[in-house]
Each structure stands twice: as structure tokens, then as C-alpha cells.
């Protein structure tokens, strides 16, 4: 179970044990992390689970597909490290990854 740290925009950090294979959005919602909404439940149809992935982990989390890229247009304050956390499944190698959360999700 890798430990993932969700860092709210105000700096508050939440450490969560995420089961391998679970989406990073689902784990955050299960632990009621403020700053991740996940309105559509993981269908990649709302853009409300936007996170910033640190560069060191970019290779592990992959790149957004066309659908995700499209939904990221609706997210607030995106940049080249932006991802939708419902599209990232946890792996052991992600141990210790610190995901920054945007100021708001829409």
C-alpha cells in the first residue's frame, strides 16, 4: 500500500494509504480530502479531481489521453503537470508521492 500525500492549496498535507490499483481520486474521496471533488465518480467526465503531479513521478503516472486532455480544459488553473487523479491508478512505486491540489476544482 503506497502512501500518497495530498497537499491542499493552503499547504495542509493529508497522508493516505492507497491500495494498489485504486484510483488516486477514489482514495482521496474515501478519506474526504478537501480539494478533490470527483463529481462524476471516475468517468473522466467532470474535471473536478484535478491534481498537479510532481515532475519526479511524471514517468510513473503517464500522460493524459485525449479524453482527459479535453476534460482538463474545464479545470481551473491547469499547467503541464496537471492530471485528473481519477485516471491514475496507484502502484507501489508511487510511495511518498506528494500531489499538489489546485485552489479550487471549478
Amino acid at each position: 500500500m503506497p502512501k500518497i500525500v495530498y497537499v491542499e492549496h493552503n499547504g495542509t498535507a493529508h497522508e493516505v494509504d492507497v491500495a494498489v490499483g485504486e484510483s488516486l481520486m477514489q482514495a482521496a474521496v474515501n478519506h474526504a480530502i478537501p480539494g478533490i471533488d470527483g463529481d462524476c465518480g471516475g468517468l473522466c467526465a467532470c474535471g473536478t479531481c484535478h491534481v498537479y503531479v510532481p515532475a519526479a513521478f511524471a514517468a510513473l503516472t503517464g500522460t493524459p489521453d485525449e479524453l482527459e486532455q479535453g476534460m482538463l480544459e474545464f479545470a481551473f488553473d491547469t499547467n503541464e503537470t496537471s492530471r485528473l487523479s481519477c485516471q491514475i491508478k496507484a502502484t507501489e512505486a508511487m510511495e511518498g508521492m506528494r500531489l499538489q491540489l489546485p485552489a479550487r476544482q471549478y
Binding site: A45, G47, M71
Partner: protein, 380 residues
């Protein structure tokens, strides 16, 4: 068919929902009065792009015309329920808007864009979300295990403390039957108990109003528990919630306390020396077996003034004054020690080696210990 000939415009004109008609390039060909009200314009001139009515940052961030086309082509696109476009009214107000798009079969094609102001809806969603989050965070950090089961007694919520108490991984209790958490022998009896609770008018039973219960952990260990339960009527029937507390730490503390008390009592009651425990103002709280044997009393002594007990042999005035001085010394934190005379029930007078020791706590006298040895008796 030309746009002007299909009668759609007069239809839209009386439509209470804001609606715009745009061409394939996104230029507004028509806007109904409701759209004018929403966007704060007094009639549409025609020919300006629909994106004029979007804030700058929205236009630069997403491709509005492509999304409008997609929603015309895929009316049941999954994102339509969740995403919205932001409109900008003439006075600069940002208006989050849910958008539906329909294609008009004109030549060339046009699109009807229906705008729904979702500001109120968003506020409600935001408030609900915050209320949920508050409740969820409180449950997450609760020291007590909190469980909720639905009408079929399946777990629909278990907080972190519940998972830890029963030994399940994160999410591992969800959809599990409640019976899994009860030792086999209680399972049959539990169901009627819940049915009775469901039928009674009280919405909750608090801790202390219930007998102790026993839980079963995943590893098969039985755990003494205390629970308060509540019922909530939902559209899908009853939901029962239980706040469960592990009684093991309290039971362990109680056992330690009992053992300590028993040890101290054993020492007190079996000491050869006569001992009495006095309050700071000189009243008797307890006398040990040696004291009760040395100075048998036929009246109760608990709560009486030590100096008023009937065994002192000096004249009442003398003993009052001596004992008052001795007690005052002890009450001021000084140990008193000296010989005193007592008259035993057989009439004989004995001299006792007598002491008063103050028990201090934080500078205050909490109690006074009186001790005595009979100097005439060889065995004491």
C-alpha cells in the same frame, strides 16, 4: 430550409429559458428575450460571436465552439451533467451556465444553444459538499468506531477507527453483513433486538442505557464493547448507526486499580501497628484491624472527631488541648510524636507510642495518619 422560414424563432421568443441560435462559425443569429435578460443585453444585434459572452480566461482555456459542436452531435455526452460554461453578462458578472445544444436542420445548419443559470444550484452543491466533508472529517478522526448499516444489515459506512477496531483494511468493511462483527452465539439474538429498537419511538439509545456487548474481530478475537445506536429513516428504509467503544483499555485500567487497592488494603488491615486515617480536620475515616482490636469501640467511629473518641484517659479538657495541638501540628504539615495514655475497655490504663503524620500533596495536607504502639505489651 432557411433559418428565417422554420418558425423556430417565434417559438423560442416565447420560451422562458434563455436560448441563442448560432451558426456553424459560432456567430449569434438570434437571442430570445430570456437570453437578453440573462446576459444583460437589450436585444442581440446579430453577427457577434457567442464567445463574446464568455470571460477572457474561459475563452483562452477551452475551445468553446468545439464543445458546443460535440454536445450537438452527442446529446448524451457523459460530461454534460457535470461541466458548465461560464457566461459573462454585459456588466461583467460571471454566470456558470449548463449548456444544451440542438441542431436545426437549416441550410446552412444552425444550432440552438439553451443556457441554464446554475448559480443557485452550485451554491447548494457547494454547501452540501462542505457539510458532507465536515461530517466525514469528524468521522475520520473520531476515536470511537462509527458504523452504519442499511435496512438489510449491510455495512454502508465504517470509519477508520471501526476498521482498526475490527481489524479490517481501508474499505474492507463496506457491504459486509453486520453479523460478521458479532460472535456466532449473539447473532440470533441481535436481530430481534434491532427489530425492537426499530419499532420503538426513541430515536437513539445512548451508551450506558445498554448492556455491554461483545464484538468479533477479523482475527477471531472477542472484544468487550459499549455502543450507542441511532436510527435514521431514509427513502430506502432504516439506517442504523452505532458508535462503538472498545472497553478493553478501561477494563484493564479497572483491573489494575482493583489490584492496587487490594494490595494497599491488605497492608493496612494486616499491619501489627494500630493505624487510623484522619481527615485534615481530625475526623476518622478508617481504622485498621489492629486499631479496632487495641481500642474496641462499641459506637461507630467513621466521621467522628478523633479527639472525641471515648478511649482517651486524660481529663476531657487536657486531652482536648493536647490532641488539638497535635492535630494542628499535623495539619500544618509537621509530624507529631509522643506518649499518650488511653483507657482500655478492661479499665486498665496503657501508655501508647503515638504519632500523627500529615500526608502532603502540593503543599496541602490531604490526610493525617494516626499510628500507635502499646508500650506495655511485649508483642506490639
Amino acid at each position: 430550409m432557411k433559418l428565417e422560414t422554420i418558425g423556430a424563432l417565434s417559438l423560442l421568443g416565447s420560451f422562458p429559458e434563455p436560448a441563442l441560435v448560432i451558426d456553424a462559425a459560432g456567430d449569434i443569429r438570434y437571442g430570445n428575450p430570456a437570453a437578453g435578460t440573462l446576459l444583460g443585453v437589450d436585444g442581440f444585434r446579430g453577427g457577434e460571436s457567442i464567445t463574446t459572452y464568455m470571460p477572457e480566461d474561459e475563452r483562452s482555456r477551452l475551445r468553446p465552439l468545439e464543445w458546443l459542436k460535440r454536445w450537438a452531435d452527442v446529446p448524451d455526452a457523459p460530461e454534460i451533467r457535470h461541466v458548465h460554461l461560464v457566461c459573462r453578462s454585459q456588466d461583467g458578472t460571471r454566470i456558470p451556465t449548463r449548456v444544451r445544444v440542438g441542431r436545426l436542420e437549416t441550410e446552412p445548419p444552425h444550432y440552438v444553444v439553451l443556457l441554464q443559470d446554475i448559480r443557485d444550484e452550485q451554491t447548494r452543491i457547494q454547501q452540501t459538499r462542505e457539510a458532507h466533508r465536515l461530517a466525514a472529517r469528524m468521522l475520520a478522526i473520531s476515536m470511537d468506531a462509527v458504523l452504519a448499516v442499511d435496512a438489510s444489515f449491510k455495512v454502508i459506512h465504517a470509519n477508520v477507527a471501526a476498521e482498526r477496531l475490527f481489524g479490517y483494511p481501508s474499505g474492507g468493511l463496506l457491504n459486509k453483513p453486520l453479523n460478521l462483527l458479532l460472535p456466532e452465539r449473539f447473532r440470533m439474538a441481535h436481530q430481534p433486538a434491532i427489530d425492537r429498537f426499530a419499532a420503538e419511538p426513541a430515536p437513539a439509545r445512548l451508551m450506558g442505557e445498554r448492556a455491554e456487548i461483545v464484538g468479533l474481530t477479523r482475527s477471531g478475537e472477542e472484544v468487550p464493547l459499549e455502543a450507542s445506536i441511532a436510527k435514521i429513516t431514509t427513502a430506502n428504509g432504516f439506517v442504523f448507526t452505532a458508535q462503538v467503544r472498545d472497553l478493553r483499555p478501561r477494563k484493564a485500567a479497572e483491573a489494575t486499580l482493583r489490584e492496587t487497592l487490594a494490595s494497599l488494603r491488605t497492608v493496612f488491615e494486616n499491619a501489627l501497628q494500630a493505624m487510623a486515617l484522619l481527615t485534615p480536620d481530625g475526623r476518622v475515616r478508617e481504622m485498621n484491624a489492629a486499631a479496632r482490636q487495641l481500642l474496641p469501640l462499641d459506637t461507630p467511629f467513621a466521621g467522628e472527631a478523633f479527639s472525641a473518641l471515648p478511649f482517651w484517659s486524660a481529663s476531657p479538657d487536657d486531652r482536648e488541648s493536647f490532641l488539638r495541638q497535635a492535630l494542628a501540628a499535623a495539619a500544618a504539615g509537621r509530624v507529631y510524636r509522643g506518649d499518650v495514655s488511653v483507657r482500655l475497655p478492661d479499665g486498665a490504663e496503657h501508655t501508647l507510642d503515638f504519632s500523627l503524620t500529615p500526608v502532603m500533596e502540593g503543599g496541602d495536607v490531604r490526610a493525617i495518619i494516626a499510628e500507635a504502639r502499646d508500650l506495655l505489651r511485649g508483642d506490639a
